[in-house]
Amino acid sequence: MDFWSDFLYFFSFQDTNINNVLIGTSVLGFTCGIVSVLVVLSKKALIVDAISHAVLPGICIGFMFTGVKNPIYLSIGGMAAGAAAVYLVDWISRISRIKKDASIAISLSVLFSFGVILLNIIQHSGNSNQSGLTDFLFGKAATIIESDLYLFLAVFTLVIFILTVFYQHLKIALFDAGFAKTIGLSERLSQGLISGLVIISTAVGIQTVGIILMSALLISPASAALFWTNNFKKAILISGSFATLSSVLGVFISFLSADMPTGPWIIVVLSGFALFSAFFSKKGIITKKLRAKMDDSYNLSEKEN
């Protein structure tokens, strides 16, 4: 009975605090879900990891300059650091024989280490505002307030805007980079756009799930969605829906029990969708096996006749 009364309370949307968290995580979830399709199709899955870890020093520097925990300043710092990470990964693998995977891991650990050192300096500086900066490591969904929502909505609008304006550009670049080049579309522009969208959504997305789990929010939704459709537009919608649904469920689970963290639950639900899709979608492993078995038995009965 307890569960159902909690359920009703939660989904009747009467608690403003819960609503803020719910709207905030859902908007961010949908934003990241959309960008996720670009990430997976452009095979940038692991650079996301470098970007999200790099956001930490950016946030720290943003805080050190302003001395306040204003999400806008912190996000700007985070975006700058994310851009630095993308550049670093690119630079290392371009000028040396170090491979891309290694340059991602190098950038990730260097920038994150730098962030931890800065975090330590801030903590020892005695600025009382600093408490809560470590929340960025694992997300702070439960503390989303109304003013945060404006930032999230602004980012959401920006992402949708860029996606609509450059829709065909991105679609061709993702589908056939060689063809895109021959018809004169700039590869730099499309790659830059994708990186830019990843950086923007990472800098705000870490507020729900945190730095470490951020890459899941930009990999899993599209990985799941691409099992269900081959259509670019549909993939974007399905991916966004998976991420939103996971956010709602994650918030609900952490509402049920005070001990349950929101961010990690969002990720667990999301990974659940991805694995479920891998097994049971029409392109899934189990579905394929079943179909092969049915075909076999069909062939057999045909032969008997």
Binding site: V40, K43, A45, L46, V48, D49, L88, I92, I95, S96, R97, I98, K99, D101, A102, S103, I104, A105, I106, S107, L108, S109, V110, L111, F112, S113, F114, G115, V116, I117, N120, I121, H124, T134, L137, F138, I212, L213, S215, A216, I219, S220, S223, F227, S257, D259, M260, P261, G263, P264, W265, I267, V268, S271, A274, L275, A278, K283, G284, I285
Partner: protein, 280 residues
Amino acid sequence: MFDFWIILTACIIAINSSLLGSFLVLRKMSLIGDALSHSVLPGIVIAFLISGEINSFWMLIGASVFGVFAILIIDWLNRFGGFGKDSAIGIIYTLLFAIGIILITSIAKNSDIDVDCVLFGDINTVPLLPKILAIPVPTFNLLIIAVVVILTLLLGLKGFKISTFDKNHAQTLGVSITFWNYLLLGLASVSTVFSFDSVGAIMVIGLIVIPPSFANIITRKLSRFLIISASFAVSSCILGHCIAIYLDIPTVPTIGFLMGLILILTLIFQTFNKNLQQHT
């Protein structure tokens, strides 16, 4: 003596990770370190819940099991599940890490396992821990692993070399690629687990990737590659700890940052030199 144990522990971890990392980097598997260092978390927590002790032998077993499990499942999803390799790594390690965090904050919340420590480790407490033969337990364990790692690499150098350089040729000589692959991943996962509670997840990634990458831009001979990789890691640890004490900042991230800084400066120096040579 206090700093001695810290530096010694860091150096042993540095040697293990940089040597195994050399082959991981050459096989373009650098990000396996990333996956491993995060995936072991639920194993550590579950083993703690069962045994009720921190730093216990069981914790390490639990973590190793999860490390190997993560590698197997990533490999499987990549081969049969229709995921790209990058996506498979990204999905599995975040899932396992998320489960670990959930376990820590809900069921194991009264334990001493703390989420920050998972990322940065707690190398400064090493000298305070119980001792075996006058050596702190983690250092002692790591020493044993170092012996195993170095012996395996010395004896199996040819196997690692040939299975990395040319898989087809190795197979035609009757060399099992799978065996050498899992031997490397198994060692890497045990070494990561044992390093985990001293230096944390992020530092393990750094030690696996940065020293070999440094060696890679310096030399093109395998024996020198391994020696440079290990000595780079060790000297960074010693220097990093001294800088950390001097500036009063934490040791572990200082080492990570220092290694990256040296690597990046070397790269800048190299390109600068190359340009200079081209102009003259």
